[in-house]
């Protein structure tokens, strides 16, 4: 679709759900984004405040959901918004996770779990088994446990917390090592903090396992022009946000290490 046909449109927030002390889910109607595939994102305009990229967490019949963690000005402002408030939407933008058959492993950290939940829903009818590994700082921050448990069966769900309030007390990468050695997977999907993604990539790369990882970068245009979101030769907004193992290998010097900062210079992550 040419960019001219994906202009911003406004819509009302229909519903707001608390997912954790720091994460809320926002639901609204948007025809275009409701046709998005797992992994795609949208640009959400908070009138008068900011416009930010958010992964699409769920879609159905014209309805779209995004889950937002309050981390700074824009996201904190969003957490104060009420249903009925007007927001602007552009998108869906970017590529998506590829579908797989057989056995899939999904590894999510923080709000990176959102697109993976969307993906899990899509994959559930197509794969033989879905394993979901989710990590967070505390029990309360473990997102979407119920939905994930339903889709993947609880026995295929592994959770970790840094403070040990739920699941294993460790980083998400720890149990992963065992799982990867014990079981065969046809595809590993991950999204979360880039340092986590980097580690997971290294683990799969060593084992020559297929992987798709969704990355985040500072985004301005969202349509592949401004260069704010570049990693290596790729634009996260246009060539990503989902990258294959082969692509991650090309950009491994920057992955988890550096990014283009707000003034266009390369800064450490």
């Amino acid at each position: 679709m040419p960019i001219a046909n994906n202009t911003m449109r406004t819509t009302q927030i229909l519903e707001i759900r608390n997912e954790s002390p720091t994460v809320k889910t926002f639901v609204f109607t948007d025809r275009l984004c409701s046709k998005a595939k797992p992994g795609q994102f949208l640009m959400l305009w908070i009138p008068g405040i900011d416009e930010i990229p958010l992964s699409i967490m769920d879609t159905s019949n014209g309805i779209v959901s995004v889950s937002v963690k309050a981390v700074g000005d824009a996201t904190r402002y969003m957490h104060t918004m009420q249903t009925g408030a007007i927001i602007g939407i552009r998108g869906p933008f970017g590529n998506s996770f590829t579908e797989t058959r057989g056995r899939a492993l999904l590894v999510g950290g923080g709000t990176g779990t959102a697109p993976l939940l969307f993906l899990a829903k899509q994959l559930s009818t197509k794969t033989d088994r879905l394993t979901f590994v989710e990590g967070a700082k505390t029990k309360e921050e473990l997102l979407f446990l119920k939905q994930i448990g339903k889709i993947c069966e609880y026995k295929n769900t592994i959770t970790t917390t840094e403070d040990g309030t739920a699941g294993l007390q460790c980083l998400v990468t720890k149990p992963l090592s065992d799982v990867l050695d014990r079981e065969h997977f046809d595809m590993i999907y991950t999204c979360g903090p880039e340092v986590m993604v980097k580690k997971i990539f290294e683990m799969t790369d060593k084992r020559k396992l297929p992987i798709e990882a969704s990355l985040e970068r500072l985004m301005r245009c969202g349509i592949g022009l401004c260069g704010s979101c570049v990693i290596g030769k790729y634009r996260v907004c246009r060539d990503g946000p989902v990258f294959t193992g082969a692509q991650l290998r090309e950009i491994k010097n920057e992955l988890g290490t550096s990014k283009i900062g707000i003034d266009g210079s390369k800064v450490p992550i």
């Binding site: 001219a4 202009t7 602007g88 260069g227 570049v230 707000i262 266009g264 210079s265």
Partner: protein, 305 residues
């Protein structure tokens, strides 16, 4: 053979083809610009760099309009001190000329940044004197022929690489500015930067861009930028680079016929990064069908009477 038909030379810059990545598009990192070069561009231009780092404006920094795009990035850039490293790195990676776009708030600033960029290896300098949404650089410099002249002279005195001046279309008579720039020493003119524009959201009743106003680019402005090139070609002898709304080979041909020796492509990259390739392919076919040996032969032909 095929490639030869597209080779050209702009004030000493040797190009394998006349398509150039416009400033501000994927123009921060060497890898990113190299990708564009490998997608077919004959040269690349960096994001405009100033003397100090700038973070630019908060989002929204772009609005998509009917067949166009309004941007008000606010010239986010690392500042020349940091950016010299990227220029040096880019020079080791790129196989096409690297043009560094420079902006400033005074003639001295322009000169300092341009000098550092040239020393770091820039094959040419493009002066952005026409950014319509950043105060005291675009409006004040690109819309006043005397100040423009002063800036160009200072930069020219400090650098030896080809000097490109990118003109603003937001003027009553672009010819005045073209002449002023050339008389002051510009080796090449780029026509044009974006048109000053605005978008308002009816629902929330506010301007959409964080900076309120921005610059319109894309297909919408092509008839205006083409007219600018045509106007300038009538009065100056230096090569002109057409810019504004070019998205296919036919557009490129029109700019060449209007008097441009090469074209820059910006907004069309959003739809397809391979636009350089497809423009070149179409251009090549066009030239072959019309029995021209080289792209230079059609430059300015629309002025025949």
């Amino acid at each position: 053979m095929e490639q030869n038909r597209l080779t050209t030379n702009i004030a000493g810059l040797k190009l394998t083809n006349p398509t150039i990545l416009a400033s501000g598009i994927m123009g921060y990192s060497a890898e990113s610009m190299d990708r564009v070069a490998k997608s077919g561009a004959g040269a690349v231009i960096t994001k405009s760099v100033g003397i100090k780092p700038r973070v630019g404006y908060a989002n929204p920094t772009i609005v998509q309009t009917e067949s166009g795009l309004i941007n008000a990035m606010g010239l986010p850039n690392p500042g020349i001190e940091k950016y010299v490293n990227e220029i040096k790195h880019a020079k080791t990676v790129l196989q096409v000329p690297l043009i560094v776009s420079v902006f400033g708030y005074s003639a001295d600033e322009y000169a300092i940044v341009a000098k550092k960029a040239a020393e770091a290896g820039a094959d040419a300098i493009e002066l952005n004197v026409s950014c319509p949404h950043v105060k005291q650089t675009g409006a004040e410099i690109g819309q006043n022929p005397n100040i423009l002249s002063e800036v160009v002279k200072k930069v020219k005195a400090e650098t030896t690489v080809p000097l490109i001046v990118k003109l603003s279309p937001n003027v009553a008579d672009i010819v005045v500015f073209a002449k002023a720039a050339v008389e002051a020493g510009a080796d090449v003119l780029t026509a044009v930067n974006t048109l000053k524009a605005l978008a308002i959201d009816a629902e929330t009743m506010i301007p959409i861009l964080n900076n309120i106003k921005g610059g319109l680019s894309g297909a919408a402005i092509k008839p205006v930028s083409l007219r600018c090139v045509y106007d300038i070609a009538d009065v100056v002898d230096v090569p002109i680079i057409g810019c504004g709304g070019i998205s296919n080979w036919r557009d490129a041909v029109e700019f060449l016929l209007a008097g441009a020796s090469a074209v820059q492509i910006g907004t069309a990259v959003a739809d397809d990064i391979k636009v350089f390739q497809s423009v070149n392919k179409g251009l090549e076919t066009y030239l072959r069908k019309k029995r021209y040996e080289n792209v230079k032969e059609i430059v300015g032909l629309a002025h025949r009477k």
